[in-house]
Symmetry: C2
Subunit: 197 residues, 2 copies
DNA sequence: AAAAAATGGTACAGATCTGTACCGTTAATG
DNA sequence: CATTAACGGTACAGATCTGTACCATTTTTT
């Protein structure tokens, strides 16, 4: 089997470092050291550090898209269950030891200038993700899908921030219960009986 | 009237710059330039940049405490109304042009190392604030005050992040309505009739 | 095996940032 | 008015960070 390319190794190591320790805090030298790659190899594969950051954001965008794909595969006949599964998946992520919040939100905070490429790309990343969820909410039969999606987004972002700041002192159970209830209430509020979708 | 001290001018200018453009993005030279102070004067008043960051965090902690004091003065006879007024005050803040999220949350993202002084102080800042709100919820007669406070905290943090990332595309009305309803539901869920406190 | 592509190693330029040293000047205070 | 405290100006040390230049080596492909 072919050896992992230098580009892949760099992106893998950098993604981990960027996420865990922050983009601005991690220098090129650190990435080179931990990925065991020559500096010249780095700049052959990435035009600049910002270029690597862009790849890092695209990588997480792919991860999010795959999560959505997965819940759609697991529950092909119920958009409602897809929403609930998405919440569960999200809670599981928050429980993992190395969890450090949303990479897109963190990036926008590390690059406050809203005209900066990294900032723009990060905003676009979450938007695409939540747009898909809004479509899911619509397909699931929510009376006001955009409203449900926005409330879910608020709740999730808040839970992310809380779990990030409070670490193990944060219990995601309350978030989980509230999010599930929120979905149900929006799906059932406009009709008394449920129709399987 | 006495001229503003150099220390005050530095803190005032730095707080604005740190908040608007980020702590790591702002160098000492920029602070010196915009506050019209000599570099030597800076280091006479602050031992280091981190020392200034600590003062910046304390400054925002004071602002939060004053907001709480104010709503308690405005509604001395109803803890419930204090909670609602706090939400309104928060919404107003989000609507102001230069709003750039929670300085404490942003600081923890800019300094991901949880053992870093800035990170620790920022976490402590929000905790103190929300502890006071939890006490308010208890005094207002919430059945589960800690739960109400945590849900409010999640919603607020989420709304902060959304308004930060979406800027003017974010309409805080949905947040406002949801937060007010949340407070009411937690205050009235355990009893049918309201008793003025 | 020969050619081509990818990688390694390293020195260094150039910019930036924090913090110090040193001295002169202004403002408050007795 | 004299003393003391606060401030201004600036040069510079030391560290760090991004990015380039140059050449040797290894791996892959033909």
């Amino acid at each position: 089997m072919p050896k992992e390319t230098a580009k892949n190794r760099i992106l893998r190591v950098a993604s981990d470092l960027f996420y865990r320790e922050g983009i601005r805090a991690i220098g090129i030298d650190r990435i080179i050291l931990e990925s065991g790659v020559a500096k010249s190899s780095f700049y052959r594969n990435f035009a600049s550090k910002d270029d690597l950051v862009a790849a890092y954001l695209e990588y997480h965008q792919d991860l999010n898209a795959k999560d959505l794909d997965e819940v759609q595969r697991q529950h092909p006949n119920s958009n409602a269950m897809q929403l609930h599964a998405l919440i569960d998946k999200f809670v599981e992520k928050m429980k993992t030891p190395g969890y450090r919040g949303c990479p897109f939100a963190n990036t926008t905070v590390e690059f406050p200038d809203s005209s900066h490429d990294n900032h723009i790309k990060a905003v676009k990343g979450t938007d695409e993700n939540w747009n898909r969820i809004a479509i899911l909410a619509e397909k699931a039969g929510a009376a006001r899908p955009l409203e449900l999606a926005e409330l879910l987004r608020m709740l999730c972002n808040g839970a992310i921030m809380l779990s990030y700041m409070k670490k193990h002192d944060f219990n995601p159970d309350l978030f989980s219960a509230t999010a599930h209830t929120l979905v149900d209430s929006h799906l059932f509020s406009w009709t008394v009986s449920r129709k399987d979708d």
